[in-house]
């Protein structure tokens, strides 16, 4: 009888253990299906995570916002409202401490990096700074981007991000209109 009770509690624990990853999937699938797509100009580098393996870390171009308001704390959670520039890339329209109800632009929950008192610029950190790659490819991806940057401009490397209600999912990183995974594969094969 006692083991039956324990088994029932175990079923609840097991359900929670299944629910957490399932919830992670469902939330992201919803954003991928119904979220707005933005392109963020980026520059990848290659670190790694002990459990989740190799990823390329993404640094973005559109991370600063001009404001005279100088009272920001590091790592403070704020909302970045996004717009699209003339070339079709994402840019920050405004940064706010609270949700703006009457603003219909897509927004993201981001972190304050720092405020520069000289240039009056607020720098933010996007929540999608990791792109996981097969371990053999992550370093090559970084090299590919570096070499690509040498002979052309940054416009052809960007992150494809789906955004809905403040939640974002990084879908792909694109180099020369090609997924970085395919790009690296092609580069490896051609060498």
């Amino acid at each position: 009888m006692k083991s039956l009770y324990i088994f029932i509690i175990f079923l609840i624990v097991a359900a929670a253990q299944l629910f957490v990853p399932a919830q992670m999937i469902l939330n992201r699938e919803d954003v991928l299906k119904t979220g707005m797509v933005f392109k963020f100009k980026t520059r990848p580098i290659d670190p790694e995570d002990p459990f989740r393996g190799k990823y390329i870390s993404l640094g973005f171009e559109a991370t600063s916002y001009n404001t005279m308001d100088s009272i920001w704390e590091r790592n403070q959670k704020v909302y970045a409202y996004l717009d699209i520039d003339s070339l079709g890339f994402a840019k920050i329209d405004k940064v706010s401490r609270e949700l703006l109800i009457d603003d219909d632009k897509d927004f993201l929950e981001v972190k304050v990096d720092r405020y520069d008192n000289y240039s009056n610029k607020l720098n933010i950190e996007y929540p999608f700074n990791r792109y996981y790659m097969e371990e053999t490819k992550a370093y090559d991806a970084e090299v590919a981007v570096r070499e690509n940057l040498r002979d052309s401009v940054l416009t052809n490397v960007y992150a494809l991000v789906h955004i809905k209600n403040g939640v974002s999912v990084l879908k792909d990183v694109i180099i020369n209109d090609m997924s970085i995974k395919d790009y690296v594969k092609r580069e490896l094969e051609s060498n």
Binding site: L18, G53, E134
Partner: protein, 431 residues
């Protein structure tokens, strides 16, 4: 049965110390004890196997297989998890042996981690290692109690320490305080208490007696945000707490190597006293006014009250030998710390005296108990004190040299005298 015991029994019978009847009774007792004990080696290998397989799965998945589709990766994220659930469910429902429970629980622990990490990869979920670890540990914490698994409890303590250090110690950004560590600790403590209550002499209990205080020592530093001086007080109180816990008869009456609280508490206290016997702390202490309304103060206060609680309880049970100053070091230190004295000399003198007195008491305890380890520990404390004072005292080299020679002779003499005494005592016992 242990062959050593068998030969001892044989010898005792031959020497007519015990009768044949008693000998067979003793043998029967050890035999029955052996039959009841589960196969320890099998448990160890079972757990080790599950541990390696689980870690292996995480590493294989960390390769990030680009060629698999998203649905295929999702399947692989859940596959080990469901298998783990199957094994654990089976071992609970059928009330299988300890080996089953330990091994399946360990496997499930890593399956949960691998599942979450694979989904992070599929959807490029950023999140720091610490937030990932926290979810992982919390999801697996109930399994410790459901399976009564030692290995899961050990993994829980190891991973919560990893979580707190990753979250709290950082070189670049401003430091964070891992408050969730306290919750994770609270989840682990009842298990350790249960072990102390039911299985005090088991080897596994002594592993916990070391792991838990070590984890606390490693993590406590993350609770210091701004005021470093309070960090010193926090650690003195923590080591005071460990020392007083370690001196409770529950721990003190057992082998010293099983008593992590006492050893860490004593070593830690001496270490803190030695480093505060230099003048940097007291210089800062005079320069800066302490902000009482700070996180560091409250953490120190909680630790102080806990240590003081244990001290009062031990005193009320008359467990404390009055002359042993080590019990009260954290109280004396706290008083000196707060009074500050306006100059550095008074606190420095008191700290140096405290170290000296502790060393002398330790030597006395070592001599009384005929314990060479404790005796030499006391001598070592004095030696370290002298070496440290060389750094900030103007003394001629001749005098320093003489002091060292004198002290070296002291070491030799103390050990020699005790050895002689011990031999005499053995002779007296024989006669």
């Amino acid at each position: 049965m242990n062959s050593k015991i068998q030969s001892e029994i044989k010898e005792l019978v031959e020497q007519q110390v015990i009768s044949e009847g008693i000998a067979s009774k003793i043998e029967a007792y050890y035999q029955s004890k052996k039959d009841n004990a589960p196969n320890r080696l099998f448990t160890v290998f079972g757990v080790l196997g599950a541990l390696l397989v689980g870690l292996g799965i995480i590493l294989i998945l960390a390769h990030n297989w680009d060629d698999f589709s998203r649905s295929m990766k999702t399947f692989f994220a859940f596959f080990p998890l469901v298998i783990g659930h199957g094994f654990v469910g089976f071992s609970i429902l059928k009330n299988k042996t300890k080996v089953w429970k330990e091994a399946s629980g360990t496997f499930l622990f890593f399956a949960v981690g691998s599942s979450m990490s694979l989904i992070s990869q599929i959807y490029n979920i950023p999140g720091s290692v610490s937030s990932f670890l926290l979810t992982w540990i919390l999801l697996c914490a109930p399994l410790i109690y459901l399976l009564k698994s030692h290995m899961l409890a050990i993994l829980h303590i190891l991973f919560m320490t990893y979580y707190a250090t990753d979250y709290g110690y950082s070189f670049l950004s401003s430091s964070n305080t891992p408050w969730f560590y306290i919750l994770l600790l609270a989840l682990a403590v009842p298990y350790c208490l249960q072990l102390l209550k039911n299985n005090i002499d088991a080897n596994i209990t002594s592993i916990f007696n070391w792991l838990l205080p070590l984890s606390l020592i490693i993590v406590l530093g993350t609770f210091i945000v701004k005021i470093g001086e309070f960090g010193v007080l926090m650690y003195v109180c923590l080591f005071g707490l460990f020392y007083n816990i370690g001196k409770m008869p529950l721990f003190d009456n057992r082998k010293l190597r099983r008593n992590g609280y006492l050893i860490l508490g004593s070593l830690g206290t001496i270490y803190m006293l030695i480093i505060t016997s230099f003048d940097w702390l007291w210089k800062d202490r005079i320069k800066n006014t302490l902000d009482i309304n700070s996180q560091e103060f409250y953490v120190s206060l909680v630790l102080f009250l806990m240590a003081f609680g244990v001290l009062v309880y031990s005193y009320s049970k008359s467990w404390i030998k009055r002359y042993n100053l080590s019990h009260y070091i954290f109280v004396i230190f706290s008083v000196i710390f707060f009074i500050g004295f306006g100059n550095k000399f008074i606190p420095l003198t008191i700290i140096n005296l405290l170290i000296l007195i502790i060393a002398l008491i330790t030597i006395k305890i070592g001599a009384d108990k005929f314990h060479f380890g404790i005796l030499n520990y006391g001598l070592l404390i004095i030696a370290i004190l002298i070496v440290c004072r060389f750094f900030d005292t103007d003394m001629s080299f001749v005098l320093r040299g003489l002091l060292f020679v004198g002290f070296g002779l002291g070491f030799f003499l103390a050990n020699y005298l005790m050895l002689k005494k011990q031999k005499e005592r053995k002779l007296n016992v024989k006669n």
